[in-house]
Symmetry: C2
Subunit: 157 residues, 2 copies
DNA sequence: CTAAGAGTCAACTGTTTTAGTAGGGTAATA
DNA sequence: TATTACCCTACTAAAACAGTTGACTCTTAG
């Protein structure tokens, strides 16, 4: 089921970075690509896509770059992943936002797999639609802080 | 994220069918393929794989066919999906059963995406590892019964 | 008003996965 | 010993993934 593509991982990493500099002006594609180790032309395509979807805005010319359109606390992972990967549900017929009848189940209403996958979708959406970029950044900071505290502590043993 | 392949859907359909005839002797590949609308050579490969993993057993010659190894109440969807699709986690580094360090996150311990995907994995596993073939068959029967009751009811309005 | 900075865009390419097909081999039973 | 039925390898077409190429256009400073 490994379903998060590299593209989505790149997208999320780029957005975490933009979240951290929100309100401080635009960031260069080149800088983002460098710092997050993402092939620059690929990142360009990714950001362009996010721009078309309204998640980020861009500025051309000197002092240009990309920035989040909304505060990081208002962007959920669910939104982002849906933009890049499509529906969260493991099957199109189990999707809430983009339901598409499944070619596989002849009797759509009594497809057992579908009913269970609907539960999986709901559980996944409950997590991803309530987790924002800001929360992820905080989580990363907390974890780093704890790790560092432990490392420091180790030296004293 | 649509991550359930046709192969897995076929596998599950075949297993539901075998679950319904558990204890009544083996079922022919040809019959399974016909009834579940699965290309027979593909189904053969699927069943062979399940056999290697110990989920089903086969008998050759006249009166042969395939049957579940264990009672349908003891086989979970989690087991089956892991066999066919691999780990339930959206990222290899978020897997409990088959952890594999992620090439993408330089600092594995502070990867935000990983931490959230771990939550998604846990929620998914909680559902799939507690749902058995028998439960799915029951769910299908109940749903069919309700649908039929409604259909009948409609005629009386 | 023009040069440099910086994003925009279409089209192409190599690799991997998916969803099969083809065709013969092997074991069990009547 | 013929028939039934599973076993196995190898091949392939199409789609998805992970990029690359190269030309283009807009913005701003000087």
């Amino acid at each position: 089921m490994t379903s998060l593509s590299k593209k989505t991982q790149y997208t999320l990493r780029a957005l975490y970075a933009l979240a951290r500099t929100y309100g401080q002006g635009p960031t260069l594609i080149a800088k983002l690509a460098e710092e997050e180790s993402i092939p620059q032309p690929f990142l360009e395509a990714i950001l362009l896509n996010l721009k078309r979807e309204g998640l980020v805005e861009s500025k051309k010319g000197k002092g240009g770059g990309y920035a989040l359109t909304s505060p990081p606390g208002e962007v959920t992972l669910g939104q982002v992943i849906r933009l890049v990967e499509g529906p969260l549900a493991p099957l199109p017929c189990a999707s809430e936002t983009k339901y598409r009848r499944c070619e596989e189940c002849l009797e759509d209403r009594t497809c057992g797999t579908k009913m269970i996958m609907r539960q999986v979708r709901d559980a996944t959406a409950a997590i991803l639609d309530h987790t924002t970029l800001a929360q992820v950044c905080d989580l990363i900071d907390e974890t780093s802080a704890k790790l560092h505290a432990n490392d420091t502590f180790m030296y004293y043993i």
